[in-house]
């Protein structure tokens, strides 16, 4: 058979060169359901991109102006819904900073244990989902299995699997169960085993590595300029962790490392998350050692704490105090505060304005994801279309937090 294209010019074979427009999301399996990316493609290379968020804007900040200070807890749970306990603790610390309260030691350890467990579940979900989006389904199932183990502890402690609403101003809703330490020790052991197994499987996989290595890289200076925080910033080699830089709770008393990446690419972000997971496990175990087995869990400030149930029924003072706290809410001194903690994705800050009444005047959350997602466009411009999936996955964008 004769070749048919012998005397064709090079140019005749070329595809039309106008850029193609492609719309990814919001309902796209890799877009977490809430992000839309409008792309301008030349071939398979992305020339321009516009990341659009807001598909999960639920009016968090407006809703907080509705109830009392304590009624904000359920809403903060649903910000970063992969690690709700960290938000709970962050918000509680912010209000306590305004009330100038210090919770008892036992509560601080307890908050750290629950918070780090939540961070572990956050990193498990993120890395697992990232692997799944690249087609590795088995590690995802394993990581979810490990997450179930952590959730079992959290459920035992708080009563809810995911949305705990467990923080309180000046303490926690309940004291630790006697089985907590034992549960942590057993679960963490098996979780780490599963993680090692899953990691081994992924990091020997050429396809997985090729799709992560060197893709979506960002330098430390750029990451700071984009106001990134958390694992994504540390993957770019910048040593900033709120737990180390501005220790809160008892983080200055435990021994843990801050893993740092070098290239700031997807692989680094993936590895940093797994490394941090192990550090969190260390923190939990140390905190289990240090937490006292008995002692008060809540501070006894009558401004914010509900009186014990017996007093409510038996004494008039107790009844009045209970009534006031429930109907009017705890009165928080007028003023403004910015309090920040290390959330699953970085610095999660609460800027609170109080007018001295029982209702927040303004609750502003500084969502780490928001800044990180803002940088997505920069990472994918110039990359290939298929690079979006691992890059987006490694940023761990959480809709509830990013869109408030």
């Amino acid at each position: 058979m004769e070749p048919i294209d012998l005397d064709l010019d090079e140019n005749d074979l070329e595809l039309p060169s106008e850029p193609m427009h492609l719309n990814m999301g919001p309902s796209h399996p890799a877009m977490h359901g809430t992000v839309r990316i409008v792309l301008e493609l030349s071939g398979e290379t992305i020339t321009k991109s516009d990341v659009q968020i807001g598909y999960l804007h639920r009016g968090f900040e407006k809703m907080c102006e509705r109830g009392s200070w304590a009624q904000v807890f359920p809403y903060v749970d649903r910000l970063n819904y992969v690690s709700p306990m960290l938000n709970n603790v962050g918000y509680a610390l912010a209000v306590e900073k305004m009330c100038e309260l210090q919770v008892p030691d036992r509560c601080q350890w307890y908050r750290m244990i629950l918070g780090e467990l939540a961070r572990m579940s956050d990193h498990l979900t993120c890395t697992g989902a990232m692997a799944m989006e690249l087609g590795a389904f088995t590690p995802f199932l394993w990581f979810i299995k490990a997450r179930e183990m952590i959730w079992d502890i959290l459920e035992e402690e708080t009563g809810a699997r995911l949305t705990h609403s467990f923080g309180r101003i000046g303490g926690m809703a309940n004291s630790p169960t006697p089985a907590l330490k034992e549960m942590c020790r057993t679960a963490i052991k098996s979780v780490l085993e599963i993680v090692a197994e899953g990691e081994g499987m992924l990091l020997k996989n050429r396809i997985f590595l090729d799709r992560l290595e060197g893709i979506g890289a960002i330098s430390g200076a750029d990451a700071i300029a984009l106001s990134w925080t958390g694992p994504c910033l540390r993957a770019a080699g910048v040593a900033y962790d709120v737990r180390k830089a501005h220790p809160y709770l008892k983080y200055d008393e435990v021994d843990f490392d801050m893993p740092l990446g070098k290239n700031g690419d997807n692989l680094d972000r993936f590895l940093i998350r797994l490394a941090e997971l192990r550090q969190s496990a260390r923190i939990v175990l140390q905190s289990c050692e240090r937490m006292a087995d008995d002692g008060p869990i809540n501070c006894d400030d009558p401004r914010v704490m509900l009186p014990p149930k017996q007093d409510v029924y038996r004494t008039i003072e107790g009844t009045i105090q209970h009534f006031k706290l429930i109907m009017e809410g705890a009165k928080v001194p007028a003023g403004e505060v910015y309090s920040y903690t290390e959330g699953g994705n970085g610095e999660i800050g609460f800027y609170l304005v109080s007018d001295g009444s029982g209702t927040p005047y303004r609750v502003r959350i500084r969502p780490p994801c928001f800044a990180i997602t803002a940088g997505l466009s920069k990472l994918i411009n110039g990359a290939m279309l298929s690079d979006i999936v691992p890059t987006f996955g490694s940023l761990n964008m959480i809709g509830g937090e990013c869109d408030h």
């Binding site: 399996p29 999960l56 009016g59 979810i144 949305t163």
Partner: protein, 187 residues
């Protein structure tokens, strides 16, 4: 479905018998081969992951495991999470692109009624936009509740019943209609 019915009607005098059987067969086949389109937006998605993962194995056991990310190939729309006003047209469009017969499952309080986001940006329940077959309350619902909902949907498919149901049915919206009608006629 209607067309098939006609065929059997023409073919035999004792049509009632044949159609029932055929419907039952179709219902049975459909209820065990639900192809899902997960419309996952929010926190409920975390619980959705748990439902599909090994511990609960909430979908594979019911023949509803295979996800299809093309609405044209799927027949069960899982609406998982809050639907904001901005998202609403997308949801509606996806629903319209799905082929008949199709079912919709509202996963979680937000999808069912807007949950505690009673504000300027949230759609108070997907039934404001698209019809919905089964409502699963809970914020997020426990996997057990979801499995309950899936089974309820299967029953409905088998029965050819299109009235919405709630897990656990305490008040069926259908009975509320009756209640309201009786109230209206009373006035």
């Amino acid at each position: 479905m209607g067309e098939l019915k006609q065929v059997t009607l023409d073919a035999s005098e004792s049509s009632g018998f044949a159609t029932t059987k055929l419907d039952a067969l179709l219902g049975w086949a459909r209820k065990w081969s639900l192809f899902k389109y997960p419309f996952v937006t929010a926190c409920c998605g975390m619980e959705f992951m748990a439902v599909t993962s090994p511990r609960f194995d909430g979908t594979a056991r019911f023949g509803a495991e295979a996800p299809r990310f093309s609405p044209r190939q799927s027949d069960l729309l899982w609406v998982v999470g809050t639907i904001s006003q901005r998202q609403a047209p997308v949801l509606k469009r996806i629903y319209e692109q799905m082929m008949e017969p199709k079912w919709v499952l509202a996963f979680g309080t937000c999808a069912s009624c807007g949950g505690f986001y009673d504000n300027y940006t949230t759609v108070p329940g997907i039934d404001k936009i698209i019809p919905c077959d089964v409502y699963i309350p809970g914020c997020p619902p426990r996997p057990e509740a979801v499995i309950d909902g899936l089974m309820l949907l299967q029953d409905k498919i088998a029965r050819g019943d299109k009235t919405p149901g709630i897990v656990k049915p305490r008040e069926d919206p259908a009975s509320l209609v009756k209640l309201r009608l009786s109230k209206d006629s009373g006035q």
